[in-house]
Structures are given as structure tokens and as C-alpha cells.
């Protein structure tokens, strides 16, 4: 006899047909499908809701720790052998991770200048010196020009403290420098923490070709970039360069510890949600398999292989789990948005969705194997 429908006789069920049967299985057992979707959705909401909130709190705390002090690296040529040059300042300034860099010479004494008005009352004992600088001094957030113009090489700006000590009424004038001689002050700057000490200097803009860089102040864009930058420094300045490197290690340690602790909390919540979600999905599907013994037995009698039955159960589960994850991800995102005012990180949402999906699908493997291994003899016989 010739089977007219048997065009694919050499192969088993077509994948498109398998998907069709799985969709029917989902639609045909609505209560079980809705319960499974709800369980997966709740697991997803639980994970996104908790990790999303802790992630928001972590981001807020870390943002508060992103103060300039945590992002500043001070490089000092302690023994005068380091290869700190104006060119090194330019190279560092060109790095994407660097927000601001300035090179500084050692401090020198301020020469006498009878034209100055002299120290104001209360500042007489405060030391004021000169320093030459390389780079865009007022181009970052730590030093801000409050009057005057950009200095040309050989001209100077005066720090706010130095201007008070020197009694520069109009924040301009001329000073005598031991190296540069007579130097015109063309602007006043305010230096803020953690470089507020620069406010006590007259800062002379050096010529790009001048030597004498003894210190670098480098402000990174984020504190997370500090350590990688420090590791790159010897390469940037020349291998083997003896350097004194200072950064806010305590602040960075707090930041690192906070990230780790919050990460561990997230991991615990994630694990608990995944395990309970996987067990619940597995239990629901196993119960459903018990109810569908005759259905699977009938399919076996029609020629379905064990692997076809297992695949059918897993595909049905995947359809339910994907639906549940989408519902849960949207609901979890709205929940976090309502609670924190900001949606959770999209990467986090996608990762949680993928992990919950995989865990729930893993929960379907045992029921799928149970369905595949059960022979229909005992459920279809008449005796």
C-alpha cells in the first residue's frame, strides 16, 4: 500500500509540525499554562525587583563615591630620575580615561616685589610660592578661572589663597620669579579639594619645550579607571621609571568592597529565586505530565519516538517560559521604575530574563524525560 501522506517517510516529524503541536499543547491546557507563566513571571519579577533595586542603590552609592579625590592620581618624581616630561603630559592627556592632567614643577620661593601691596592682615605667616605648570590648568573641574584671561607661556595665574596673601587687590600684577624673572599675573584661579593647596601658588605657564616636570596630577573619568591607569603608567612614561604614585586607596577600597558585597547579595537573591522557580516549574510540569499520560501514550502509538515526546514537552515549556519571562521582565521593570524612579539596567534585565528562562527550561527536563520514558501499555489498554 502506498501512503499518500507519507512524503517524509525517511524522516520523523517535521520541526514545524512539532512546533504546531507544542503550541496546541500550550493552548489546550490553559490553566497549567497560565500557572506556569505566572510562576516564571513571579520569579523574574522577584529577581529583577530585588537586584534592580540593589543595583540602583549600588549605583547611587558608587556615584556618591565618585568624588574627585577617588579619581585623582598624583605622580611624583621623588629622586629626580623619573622620566616626567612635557611630552608625557601630552601623552597622558590624550588618553580617553583621563579627564584632566597637569604637570607641575617643584615649588620655588616667591621673589620680592615692592609693587605688591604686601600680605593682608592674618595671612602674613602663610607661605606663598611659585610653580610652573604644563597642560590645561583650568580645563578641569578642580581649578577654575574666576577672572582675567588665559596666560601665554611665561605668564602666570594666581591662586585664590596666594592672591589674598599677596594682597592683590585687582587679582593682577607682576612678581619676580627666580627662574623666569619678572612674570605678569593675568588671571586668578580657585583650586578645590583635593588640590586646594595649589591655591597658595602663583602658577606660571611653562613653555611646551621647558624641562622640569616634577609632579603630575591626573584626574580619571571614573574611580574604576584609577588602578588600570596606574598599571599602565610605567609603560606610558618609560619602563623602569622610579615613581611615587599616590591615590585615595582607602576610598577605592570602600568602593570595591561595596560593589562586592552588593554583588554577593544579588547573587544570593538570584540563586534563591532561580532554585525556587526551577523547582516550581518542574513540579507543575511533572504534574501536567501525569495528567497527560494517555495523550503521550497515544502519540507513541502513532509513531512518536521518545525523543519527539521529550522535545514536545521541552518546546511547550520553552514557549511558556518565554511568555512568563517577558511578562515578568516588563512587570519587574515597571516595579523598579516605580520604586526607584529609574528603570533597571537593560543589560541586567536581559541577563536575568535569560538566566530565569534557562533555569525554568532546566526544570522541564525531568518531566520531559518522564513523559518520554513512559510506555503506553498501562494507560491505553482495555483490560
Amino acid at each position: 500500500m502506498t501512503d499518500r501522506t507519507d512524503r517524509g517517510a525517511s524522516r520523523g516529524i517535521r520541526p514545524s509540525v512539532l512546533l504546531l503541536l507544542a503550541r496546541r499543547g500550550v493552548g489546550g491546557h490553559r490553566v497549567r499554562s497560565v500557572v506556569t507563566i505566572l510562576v516564571v513571571a513571579l520569579a523574574t519579577i522577584a529577581v529583577i525587583g530585588t537586584t534592580g533595586r540593589t543595583e540602583a542603590a549600588r549605583r547611587s552609592l558608587l556615584a556618591q563615591l565618585e568624588v574627585p579625590a577617588a579619581r585623582l592620581v598624583r605622580v611624583v618624581d621623588r629622586d629626580g630620575q623619573a622620566n616626567l616630561t612635557p611630552d608625557a603630559v601630552r601623552r597622558i592627556a590624550s588618553l580617553r580615561s583621563v579627564a584632566w592632567v597637569v604637570g607641575l614643577s617643584p615649588a620655588g620661593p616667591l621673589g620680592r616685589n615692592p609693587a605688591l601691596g604686601g600680605p593682608r592682615q592674618g595671612y602674613a605667616s602663610e607661605a606663598v610660592g611659585t610653580r610652573r605648570y604644563w597642560g590645561d590648568l583650568a580645563g578641569g573641574p578642580l581649578i577654575r578661572a574666576v577672572s582675567g584671561r588665559d596666560p601665554a607661556p611665561g605668564e602666570a595665574v594666581v591662586g585664590n589663597r596666594a592672591a589674598d596673601v599677596l594682597g592683590l587687590a585687582d587679582r593682577a600684577g607682576t612678581i619676580d620669579d627666580e627662574i623666569s624673572g619678572s612674570v605678569a599675573i593675568v588671571a586668578e584661579v580657585i583650586a578645590v579639594a583635593p588640590v586646594e593647596n595649589l591655591g597658595a601658588y602663583v602658577l606660571i605657564r611653562a613653555d611646551a619645550a621647558d624641562a622640569g616636570v616634577a609632579e603630575l596630577l591626573v584626574l580619571l573619568r571614573t574611580s574604576a579607571q584609577v588602578e588600570p591607569f596606574v598599571e599602565r603608567l610605567p609603560g606610558l612614561l618609560g619602563a623602569g621609571t622610579p615613581l611615587g604614585i599616590e591615590r585615595a586607596t582607602e576610598l577605592l577600597a570602600i568602593r570595591s568592597g561595596l560593589a562586592t558585597e552588593v554583588g554577593e547579595l544579588d547573587a544570593a537573591v538570584l540563586a534563591a529565586s532561580l532554585i525556587s522557580g526551577t523547582l516550581l516549574v518542574g513540579a507543575i510540569l511533572y504534574g501536567a505530565i501525569e495528567e497527560r499520560r494517555r495523550e503521550f501514550g497515544l502519540r507513541r502509538s502513532q509513531g512518536a519516538t521518545r525523543s519527539t515526546i521529550a522535545a514536545l514537552v521541552v518546546i511547550e515549556s520553552m514557549l511558556l517560559v518565554i511568555a512568563g519571562t517577558i511578562v515578568g521582565a516588563i512587570s519587574g521593570t515597571l516595579l523598579v521604575l516605580a520604586q526607584t524612579g529609574a528603570p533597571p539596567d537593560p543589560g541586567l534585565t536581559i541577563a536575568v530574563g535569560a538566566i530565569v528562562s534557562l533555569a525554568a527550561i532546566a526544570g522541564s527536563l525531568l518531566p520531559a524525560a518522564a513523559a518520554a520514558l513512559r510506555e503506553p501499555l498501562y494507560v491505553l489498554r482495555s483490560e
Binding site: M1, T2, D3, R4, T5, D6, R7, G8, A9, S10, R11, G12, I13, R14, S16, V17, L20, L21, R24, G27, G28, H29, R294, E295, L298, R299, R300, S301, Q302, G303, A304, T305, R306, S307, T308, E375, P376, L377, L380, R381, S382, E383
Partner: protein, 216 residues
């Protein structure tokens, strides 16, 4: 001489290794076009024999040859392929999927053999019309009578035009008129060349078969 569709040689079966066999030394031959009734008291292993012939369980001893193919030692994939392409089952109750239409229930019988859904549905419609229930194609199993459901189950078993039809009390739950409809359907399959082996308690059904085998 026509080659036998089914050959059973010295078949025995026990549920447990140490238990007394349900039956032993059983020989059975079914040729194309033949209807063979299997009769016997309850518990003599009639349904079990049918499931042995359907390759769901392995016999304790003996051989089963289907369409000239020795089935001893076949793996699940080969046994499933034989069921998909060669064997049609009819059970005592129709065992239709309650959530899909009669037409889709019948069509599913062809899908595991690799048929496309469209081709299977087309063939299902033809069969339903042939067995007088074409107008019920889009109803659910719960919306048809027991006799109509059993005829649909018969269509499902015959959709692949199997060479061997195994029926386990196919008329057990039906009134005499519906029972005869089902027997006529099975006879139609035999007339087209299938060998039919059916388990029955009914003397009338056994009488409608070409010969009977007594168990127990």
C-alpha cells in the same frame, strides 16, 4: 502466495521474570486482507498481546515479524518508525485530544510519519467524508457521540494506510449499530490490503472476522 503481514512464532510473555507467563507458545499469522479476532477471558493477556504486536513491550520469548522484518532487538527509533509507517492502533475508547477538532485529531495520525500538516489535514477530510462524519470535522470530541468519536479514531488509525491494524476492543463501548459501523470500517481497511488483528469479547464481532484465536 501472499507474504504474511504479521508472523508470531512461539511467543511468550510474563510481566516479571520469575512470574508465570501470561501466555506462551503462541503462534499467529495475519495475511493482507485478513481480519483476525483475539478472544479469551479477562486477564488472559489479549490486550498485552496487542501491545506486544505494537512493539511497546518486548516479549519474554519468541519472535514477531512484521512485513518480513524481524522486530527482536529493534531500538526505540526503529520501533517508532514501524508504528508510524506500518501500524495503526484503535483503542476501546476513542482517546481523542479533547482540545482540538476531530479533523486535527485524525490528521495527527499522519504527522509522526513526516507528513506535512496541510497534506495530513487534506487526507483527514477525505477519510472523515468516507466514514460519514465529514460534517463533524470542525467539532471537538466532546461535541460528538461515542460512536462518531470511535469512527474518528478509526480514521486516525487508517490515515497512513497502515499494513497492520491493531484494535483493542474497538466496539467495547458502542451500541450494536455503531459497533457494526466500526467493524465495517475495519473490514474496509482489510479489503484495501491491511491485516487487522482485533481483541474482542463480542461473539458477533468475532463472527465478522475471518478467523479467531483463543487465549487462555
Amino acid at each position: 502466495m501472499t507474504a504474511a503481514t504479521l508472523e508470531v512464532h512461539d511467543l511468550s510473555f510474563a510481566y516479571r521474570e520469575a512470574a508465570a507467563p501470561l501466555f506462551s507458545g503462541l503462534d499467529l499469522v495475519a495475511e493482507p486482507g485478513q481480519m483476525v479476532a483475539v478472544q479469551g477471558k479477562s486477564g488472559t493477556g489479549k490486550s498485552t498481546l496487542l501491545f506486544l504486536l505494537g512493539l511497546f513491550v518486548a516479549p519474554s520469548g519468541g519472535r514477531i515479524v512484521i512485513c518480513g522484518r524481524e522486530t527482536t532487538g529493534l531500538g526505540d527509533a526503529d520501533r517508532s518508525r514501524l508504528r508510524a509507517h506500518t501500524i495503526g492502533f484503535v483503542f476501546q475508547d476513542a482517546t481523542l485530544h479533547p482540545t482540538v477538532t476531530i479533523e486535527d485529531n485524525v490528521a495527527e495520525g499522519a504527522l509522526y510519519a513526516g507528513a506535512s500538516y496541510t497534506a495530513a489535514v487534506e487526507r483527514a477530510r477525505d477519510l472523515l467524508n468516507r466514514y460519514g462524519i465529514g460534517d463533524l470535522a470542525h467539532r471537538r470530541p466532546t461535541q460528538v457521540s461515542g460512536g462518531q468519536a470511535q469512527r474518528a479514531a478509526l480514521c486516525r488509525a487508517l490515515i497512513r494506510q497502515p499494513t497492520l491494524v491493531l484494535a483493542d476492543e474497538p466496539t467495547g463501548n458502542l451500541d450494536p449499530d455503531n459497533a457494526m459501523e466500526v467493524i465495517r470500517g475495519l473490514r474496509g481497511a482489510a479489503d484495501e490490503g491491511a491485516a487487522v488483528v482485533l481483541v474482542t469479547h463480542s461473539p458477533a464481532v468475532a463472527a465478522a472476522c475471518d478467523r479467531a484465536v483463543q487465549l487462555g
